[in-house]
């Protein structure tokens, strides 16, 4: 028995490099890097396995009937046409399963909706077809658009192979930068049509609707760059407005923030000087 396990482990280990080579054949939802994304992933796996078990039972029963009770094999049909007992059973068992699924789902939902005590609020506005990030109370705001190399490659018959572009369609000029481990509240709205802000690794998407403000929150546990896309059809270039979030250490985030403010002050000065010059000319 132990031997079999060993062999199985060895076979599995041999398959591992192969598995990496086939990484693009992704099958499942990412576990993600936030508490919520992990909870959502386990809910997803729970309901998936419930479906698999029910599926095995029901499909097993159909296959059994199809194989066992074939007319060509001389099966003689029974004549029963109902059974109250059976019907009560297969009406009530699903109800129990549903309640069992609804309870953890409701618990996670309550957590998702709790946007209190955030350490940072960023107002995200959807435009056709780019995102605008405004760090509330930090004096930092900027637009985030599709990276130039992706944009060149995605033109009709551009002749540039997407494989030659790193992070094709999932890269931007200015990513949203947030500190690791901080509860970030995202306030979503839109300037023209409805968009949706989605980062699969954060487990979350929500619509950005003109005239309304929606809230979501996330707390990323790991430093890294996380990529997503607009998820609500918003016109011609809906497929070309990615969401990129750069999660950095607190220090790196602070220095990024300083640099952004510096840029903003410089820009303000340039504008002021230009205005002064214009006034002087007059």
């Amino acid at each position: 028995m132990l031997k079999i396990v060993k062999y199985a482990a060895a076979a599995l280990a041999a398959c591992l490099p192969l598995g990496q080579a086939l990484a693009a054949w992704e099958l499942n939802m990412p576990v993600g890097v936030t508490e919520l994304s992990r909870e959502i992933h386990s809910l997803h796996m729970l309901v998936l396995w419930v479906c698999v078990v029910i599926g095995v039972l029901v499909f097993g029963m159909i296959i059994y009937s199809v194989v066992k009770f074939r007319h060509s094999q001389g099966a003689v049909p029974a004549s029963f046409d109902h059974s109250t007992k059976a019907e009560v059973i297969w009406t009530s068992i699903p109800v129990v399963i549903l309640v069992a699924l609804a309870i953890p789902a409701a618990a996670t939902l309550v957590k998702i909706e709790d946007t209190r005590d955030s350490e940072l609020s960023v107002k995200v506005t959807g435009y056709q077809w780019k995102w605008h990030y405004d760090y509330l109370g930090q004096d930092v705001n900027f637009f985030s658009t599709l990276a130039r190399d992706s944009n060149e490659a995605r033109q009709l018959n551009s002749g540039i192979h997407p494989d030659s572009v790193p992070n094709y369609l999932l890269d931007v000029d200015n990513p949203m930068v947030v500190p690791v481990g901080a509860k970030v509240r995202v306030l979503l709205t839109a300037a023209d049509v409805i968009h949706a802000w989605w980062v699969p690794e954060f487990g979350m998407k929500k619509d950005a609707i003109p005239g309304f403000v929606n809230e979501i929150w996330f707390r990323a546990d790991a430093i890294g760059i996380y990529r997503g896309q607009c998820a609500e059809l918003c016109g011609r270039d809906h497929g070309f407005m990615p969401v990129v979030v750069d999660v950095r250490s607190q220090e790196d985030y602070e220095s990024w923030l300083q640099a952004q403010r510096g840029d903003a002050q410089q820009a303000a000065q340039v504008i002021e000087t230009a205005a002064d010059t214009a006034a002087n000319v007059e």
Binding site: A24, W25, L27, N28, P30, L36, I40, H44, V47, L48, V58, F59, M61, V66, F69, R70, H71, S72, A75, P77, A78, S79, F80, D81, H82, E87, W90, T91, P94, L98, A102, A105, A106, L109, I112, A153, R154, N157, S158, Y168, V193, I194, W198, P200, G203, M204, K205, D207, I209, G211, F212, Q229, A231, L233, C234, G235, D237, H238, G239, F240
Partner: protein, 529 residues
Amino acid sequence: MSNVQTHHAEVHDHHGPEKGWRRWAFATNHKDIGTMYLLFSLLMFFVGGSMAMIVRAELFQPGLQLVDPQFFNAMTTMHALVMIFGAVMPAFVGLANWMLPLQVGAPDMALPRMNNLSFWILPFAFTLLLSTLFVPGGSAAGGWTMYPPLSLQTGAAFPMTIFAIHLMGASSIMGAINVIVTVMNMRAPGMSLLKMPMFAWGWLITAYLLIAVMPVLAGAVTMLLTDHFFGTTFFEAAGGGDPVMYQHIFWFFGHPEVYIMILPAFGVVSEIIPTFSRKPLFGYDSMVYAIASIAFLSFIVWAHHMFTVGMPLAGQLFFMLATMLISVPTGVKVFNWTATMFKGSISFEPPMLFAIAFLFLFTIGGFSGLMLAMVPADFQYHDSYFVVAHFHYVLVPGAVFGIMAAVYYWLPKWTGHMYNLKLATWHFWLSTIFVNVLFFPQHFLGLAGMPRRIPDYSTQFADWNMVSSIGAFGFGLSQLMFAYIVFSSIRGGTKASDKVWDSGTPQGLEWTLSSPPPYHSFEVAPEIK
């Protein structure tokens, strides 16, 4: 009594079909109108299918090779409108026209002239809709759901699309009225409601759903129209309106619409499985109650299409629970079909093959539906390819396979000729294999993070997209076999007997008539004991 019958025989000669084009243009006969509905929907199935082929060809590999993104969006939008309103719904109305009078023992539909009108609206509606492909700005490209404010950016196609939808809605409502009046008033003596065939039950409830929700759709798109042209701001936040309100109104129509497209298929499958299992349907009464509860629940679950718009927690919980509840009556149906096959004596003629595939693949669509009901998980699934996989599983191997099963079941009754069973079996296997190659990988794409309605994608999604496109081309080509089989059965073939499926146990009044049935179906109402 004998007097009446002599009289009938005398006038009978004058009541044959008219000659030439007048037979079709002025048709009042339920079979002629049913035939026109079915052929029209077959045509639309290929028009909508060609659009899907363009979509899948562009998605065959990353990068944009074939079409502009705007045209791509127009194709996804038009594909949905054509398939829903042009292919699936008219096909079911065609089946209702052909089969309801035969099944309830009536000479014709109750309102034959309205029947003519409700069909002849459709070619005009779809000429109008498809002509938008050639107007400045191209077709509507904001998705078939037409969410404002995006849909308000549509060009000249906007009022044309909305008027086409109004026409389709009027046609559907008239079709539904006809079904209800026929089923309620023209049943043979002795056929109480709970003795009706399941197909008639499925359609009766569907007809009520249609009457309830088509006006809601008409209202929603009319409000879009006035927002665009007459300065109202129903859905414009700047004027005190609310873009999300459109989604609430639309899905109050849209969710029952989903069941409008599946309940008649439930009825079809409930006819076919007992015939080829040679055993009565298991739990007839609970099958009827299950359809009725699904129809009721369909009115209180609409917001599960819009969990990401930012609803109050209580609202999200309510719509999650109500949605999950639908799986109870749906489960009852699946279990009862299985129990019908259990201890039967099953043979595998083409209609039965399609019904069994329906049972498997519709259930898979039901499973992903249950997953989508879980609000937190829906925040990941929503608007991803997982949703695309889900609704195509319930609509293609669900509704469309239901229609094909029905055609293969009743076609010999309609034409009087048995079709090529071997070729139909090939059509079945090719369709079933390719439909899974086409749609199953889309689950993986959605879970891995690919949004729907995008013309180009990141390279990590390339592999499954290529598989899905290959499945699409295979599925599309296989459907040419379907058209060939249907048309060659119309032209000729071995004579079908009255019972058609002598080997099975087909139940119902349609099998007591000749194949093809007489022009006025039941001239004398049969007695049901």
